[in-house]
Amino acid sequence: MTTTATTAERVPNVSVQHWAEPGHEDDRSFWRKYVFSTDHKVIGSQFLFLSLFFLFVGGALAMMMRWQLGFPGEPMPGGGVFGQAKAVQGILLPEFYNSLVTMHGTFMIFFAIMPLLVGVFGNWLIPLHVGAADMAFPRLNMASFWTAVPAGVLMLASFWVTGGAAGAGWTAYPPLSAVPEFSGVSMGQKLWCVSIAVLGFSSLMGAVNYITTIVNMRAPGLGWMRLSLPVWALFITAILILLAIPVLTGAAILLLFDQTIGTAFFLPEAGGQPLLWQHLFWYFGHPEVYILILPAMGIASEVIANGSRKPIFGYRFMVAAIVTIAFLGWIVWGHHMFQSGMNPLLGTSFMFSTMVIAVPSAIKTFNWLGTMWRGDLHFHVPMLNAVAFVAMFIIGGLSGIFMASTPIDIYIHDTYFIVAHLHYVLFGGSLFAIFAGIYFWFPKFFGKMLNPTLGKIHFWTSFVFFNLVFFPMHNIGLKGHMRRIYDPTQYEWLAEIQPMNTFMSVSAFLLGTAQLLFLANIVWSLWKGEDAPPNPWKANTLEWSIPSPAPHGNFEEMPTVYRGPYEYSAPEREEDHWPMGEPGPGEERPPPEEQRRKEAAG
């Protein structure tokens, strides 16, 4: 990155943007302001509350699973409320357990982690980081949120229909998911398909918006190599969403046809193919894995550079790694199917592509370490979570090598080793980065700091209990402990390691309890928190140059960008940060926007 002065590289399509007049009164009604708002910041916050709600629902389901696994056959405290169809005298039934497994995965992936990363940070950050007044299509953006809501309601409602919620796993493999006689679930399984299809439209509307905004609405001076890494990651993620989600939507509709109107796309009796579903599902599903980690990587990069007071190490390699991961992400889906009956030769080629994806992941990890090297590390709460992200991502990344090796996958496929791996990536990785991002940007959108003491307690308890829950899953997986098993004590060799399960369950309850601190922190800080200054973290990106909370319309006039986002501790400057929009010595602020617009028009 160069720090020398450059004038505006180009003037984007300024005419489409509405810039608030100075002293502009926000006279929108309550409904327009907070409910059916087209403001990207409000939509981001709406996604925050929606996905945090589902994060806690998904977490509660996990607690119930852990109860059954830790204390099989014992009545769950409060289990009586579920009724006889789900729990007899508080003892969970196996069919209800299968619903818990399915819905935990579904809620966490589709309604918590994905909207947290894409819906929240995509909306919060993209217009502010590119210096725009709002998204390219604000009404489409509002529609995206209000399409996600009914999808979530449908999914949640399926717990109360006859037969209960879907029970064929979040992967919904047919024939189990297609034929009610096999799973015992009819309506729930159909609602699953409908909800996923509806949610797909929400994701597509978001993706189109993000891509357009980033391509067309960057402020003058904001070249591609000056974009913040979260925006790079969200840009590539939006492309993945645009290409992957329609495949899932299509597959879900075909499955719905099999369930309702007697087709047999996935049923062998009439010539269908169960494996077809797996190919379609994972063709979506593996890019989805990167949809769930790339924005987290971007957030971690932003926070680590800020907390280290250093430019990001190897910015161009970081960008290249994001693009490479996204590209390779399209040709690795078969590694979910090594034991499926797919041609083993195909397994070999998928193994190679899967292994190679470890390389860009390693580049990113080393660059985070490089960023911290000789830094001036400030361990504010976002930084703690971002460093934990790196530490946990290393574990999740390395354990992936085991499954990628086809012969070892024979043994550990569908065991708890996989459960450990995916939680190290999605919880240890994505969720810790999400925590980092929320602690970091909350002040900009709500005008209040989150309480740092509560934040530190939340971080340390989460970090410790997370590892106590999920690290032993590697060990029991290596013993051959199958996943999605209602009662492991049915097997002699698993009954022997039952104390491990009990230990993980108790740790899980503590981990779950610790998350209430996070919730309490949000509620308390909104109510009584310290007022946020405009730039509490001394960060460089454009949003920190405007007041907290960021006003409607964002910037008073179109900002000009003079340098990249990671100019920390530059030697020619006394302060250890250098905002992107602040002219350096010899750099003059370009003429006011009005004048430029006239020049561009004339």
């Binding site: 990001i312 030769l345 190679v356 024979i410 065991t415 199958m482 049915q490």
Partner: protein, 269 residues
């Protein structure tokens, strides 16, 4: 509490090879894990903020980037290359000992049981002396067992942890599986793919006999099943019922395992 990273003892011929590969990867990833996490923790303490500290202004180092791109690449390609041979030995259909198999078996999974069809003392199917045992897999030690695996309803997964064998059983497909036991004893067979409300108890017992003992067992069971060794071939329909094939699966079931078709790999998609 068992925090071990060792695998249980393998009892199949290729089990040891898989485990060796596992320990290599454990060594390599374990080393990388310890080094990177140690560096991280060291940085956290070494470079934490103190009064007057200022970060070193640097945008990276191209040579270093190339080094840590090339080295991981070589490592993962090496691991893949080492994995290929073992994988193909275990899974590739053209290497499944079709003719040389000492004991051909048919296993049909269904909610929530494993039905094993034995060929009878003559070691051949469709000769009228085959019989079915539910949730019992009896095999001789030191002999190659070849299983034609299918499912009657949903996808199950045939998992023999001690033998390092796992293969999904898919309705509409017949997938070859082979292994050779190296020790006698009793071992679990479990379902590893979520298959419905009884998934957690879809288990069977594998009994590995001495060869003579196995032959005695086979003769006893054949007698008990009321079929005479070497009687006329049963009509195709009967065979289908005995192997538990549904109507729609007729084609898959009647295709002799190991023929040209399945020799090209299990994926008929």
């Amino acid at each position: 509490m068992d925090w071990s990273w060792f695998l249980p003892d393998p009892v199949s011929t290729f089990g040891g090879e898989i485990d060796t590969l596992y320990y290599w990867i454990l060594g390599i990833t374990g080393f990388i894990f310890v080094v990177t996490e140690a560096v991280l923790v060291w940085f956290v303490f070494r470079y934490r903020h103190k009064e007057g500290r200022r970060a070193h202004y640097s945008h990276g180092n191209k040579r270093l980037e190339i080094v840590w791109t090339v080295i991981p690449f070589l490592i993962v390609v090496g691991i893949s290359w080492a994995s290929t041979e073992v994988w193909m030995e275990v899974k590739a259909a053209d290497r499944v000992p079709a003719v040389e198999a000492d004991l051909p078996l048919r296993v049909a999974a269904k909610q929530f049981e494993w039905n094993v069809t034995y060929p009878g003392p003559d070691g051949e199917f469709d000769t009228g002396d085959e019989f079915v045992k539910r949730n019992q897999l009896h095999i001789p030690v030191g002999r190659t067992v070849r299983i034609d695996l299918t499912s009657e309803d949903v996808i199950h997964s045939f998992f023999l942890p001690d033998f390092r064998v796992k293969q999904d059983a898919v309705p509409g497909m017949v997938i070859p599986v082979w292994f050779q036991a190296t020790e006698t004893g009793e071992y679990p067979l479990a379902c590893a793919e979520l298959c419905g409300l009884g998934h957690y108890r879809m288990r069977a017992q594998v009994t590995v006999h001495e060869v003579e003992e196995f032959e005695r067992w086979l003769a006893t069971e054949t007698g008990a099943a009321g079929v005479e060794p070497g009687t006329a071939p049963a009509p195709a329909d009967t065979a289908r019922i005995e192997t538990g094939q549904g109507d729609g699966d007729g084609e898959a079931a009647s295709a002799p395992a190991g023929d040209e078709d399945s020799g090209k790999g299990g994926d008929r998609a």
